[in-house]
């Protein structure tokens, strides 16, 4: 059932021209940024060559690209998540799901995985671009993998957060702004000092960004995603008045 719902979400995303425009535009921005970083790197390459343990091409090009991807996704994902539940409520199609013999868990997970599949496509396209570094130099695939994993986990976290806000309201715009505000707030936490800092997904992303894959970060993301999915399920379950 989750698969049926996820496939439907993916289908809905890909029949809308705006999705294709967005994908094309993103790819253009990333390519631009990638080439710009590449240029910068080539300019300073001669000086770097004289240094001991100079930063390699991967950390100079791939890692900043992943950070840009992370920020762009943070701003973009609320626009997708607002459609998942809030817009269905407004379009009065939500009732089809609530009167169907499926559980709130099916609905939430179906929508989550549908969106995640689409986000994975964006990330994969970016990954292929970064892997093209290997054509010209010795690319650090471990670092690239860490970055991809980081961006993917971050995207999944924002998707779960956005889904929760979408489940709260029937106004897509409210859902989008709510999710964006909280994502932004969490991002700002990164600049603070002290204990609250660890609450920010970006802090955990940064470890992966420099190639440090630690269990603590993975657990943080897993908790973040499961937590928001669980409260969304609970919210829908209560709304349906079900057990």
């Amino acid at each position: 059932m989750i698969r049926t719902l996820a496939k439907k979400e993916l289908h809905t995303l890909f029949v809308s021209p705006s999705t294709w425009w967005m994908l094309a535009l993103l790819q253009f921005i990333f390519a631009w940024f990638y080439l710009a970083r590449m240029d910068d790197y080539l300019q300073v390459q001669a000086q770097l060559a004289q240094m001991d343990s100079a930063p390699g091409a991967t950390i100079s090009i791939a890692a900043p690209l992943a950070s840009v991807l992370a920020i762009v996704l943070m701003m973009l994902i609320p626009l997708f998540t607002m459609r998942l539940i809030a817009e269905e409520r407004r379009n009065q199609t939500w009732i089809l799901l609530t009167t169907a013999p499926i559980s709130a868990t099916d609905i939430v997970l179906g929508k989550f995985f549908g969106l995640l599949a689409m986000l994975s496509i964006i990330i994969a396209a970016c990954a292929v671009m970064v892997c093209s570094l290997a054509l010209g130099t010795h690319a650090d695939f471990g670092l690239i993998a860490g970055n991809i994993l980081g961006v993917w986990l971050l995207a999944a976290s924002y998707a779960a957060l956005g889904l929760f806000f979408s489940s709260l309201t029937r106004q897509p715009v409210v859902a989008a702004f709510g999710a964006l505000a909280v994502s932004f707030g969490l991002w700002m936490l990164e600049m603070s000092s002290g204990v609250v800092r660890v609450l920010s997904p970006n802090v955990h992303f940064q470890n992966l960004n420099v190639g440090l894959i630690s269990t603590a970060d993975i657990i943080y993301f897993a908790l973040f995603i499961t937590g928001f999915l669980l409260v969304s399920i609970e919210r829908i379950r209560r709304e349906r008045g079900g057990v």
Binding site: T93, A100, S103
Partner: protein
């Protein structure tokens, strides 16, 4: 009655903003029966139907579909239900075939039966030639038909239709009435409507709601007994209900 009960509601009450919209509504529906739900605008027809379909939880009372309590065993109860809400829940950017297949899968139709059920539902609703069309490009009447097809595709025991003939032209209305009568052979149908002769033509029983209360619940013959159905309806709804407030 000999035929088994497929849908029963006991003392449904629903408040909205501190005011009761539906008060103490009980009804029973048997297999092969078509029940018409009548009432003025705002009498609580849609609210009642939504509670029967499990889209809205009653503040008190309970609903049983095919002997399953809809609040306790929602998956089993809802699998026996087909529901067309007031606004058909259509995804405008999907094709008719894709949408109906999705609706069938949601209602747990087995993959092996999908094509058969899809073709049958399309044929019954006169949608055979529209399978590849986008729902958003269809006219209101055709969208309504897709909405009905969505409600009957999994061949449920109980079909709930909220104003199924709104927006249809006279020929389509006739077709849909025939379809409802046909559905009434194997399943139970409950529909709400404003059209009195619709009730007269296709319903075995009628239930009239006035300000959220049941004021009439009997066969259509009974409604017709004294005078024609229209004057009976007007006479019944003109009587002040107990404790009614404007």
């Amino acid at each position: 009655m000999a035929s088994p009960t497929t849908l029963s509601a006991h003392n449904l009450t629903r408040f909205h903003g501190g005011r009761s919209v539906v008060t103490d509504v009980s009804l029973e529906l048997h297999r092969g029966e078509v029940l018409g739900l009548l009432g003025h605008n705002g009498a609580g027809k849609s609210t009642t139907l939504q509670m029967l379909a499990g889209a809205l939880t009653p503040n008190s009372g309970r609903v049983e579909v095919c002997d399953f309590d809809i609040a306790r065993k929602p998956a089993l109860a809802k699998a026996c239900l087909g529901f067309l809400p007031e606004h058909p829940p259509l995804y405008k950017d999907m094709r008719v075939d894709d949408y109906l297949t999705f609706a069938a899968k949601l209602h747990r139709v087995l993959p092996a039966q999908l094509t058969e059920y899809l073709n049958l539902a399309k044929q019954r609703c006169g949608l055979t030639d529209c399978g590849k069309k986008l729902i958003g490009t269809l006219s209101k009447g055709y969208q309504q038909r897709v909405g009905i097809a969505q409600a009957i595709i999994h061949q449920p025991a109980v079909v709930i239709l909220d104003e199924p003939t709104v927006g249809l032209d006279p020929t389509q209305i006739r077709d849909i009435r025939e379809l409802i009568r046909e559905l009434g052979n194997n399943s139970s149908v409950i529909l709400s409507t404003h059209l009195l002769h619709e009730v007269e033509n296709i319903c075995d029983r009628a239930l009239i709601l006035q300000q959220g209360k049941v004021i009439f619940n009997d066969t259509t013959d009974e409604l017709r007994r004294h005078s024609d159905i229209e004057s009976s309806f007007i006479r019944l709804t003109a009587m002040p209900t107990e404790g009614a407030t404007k």
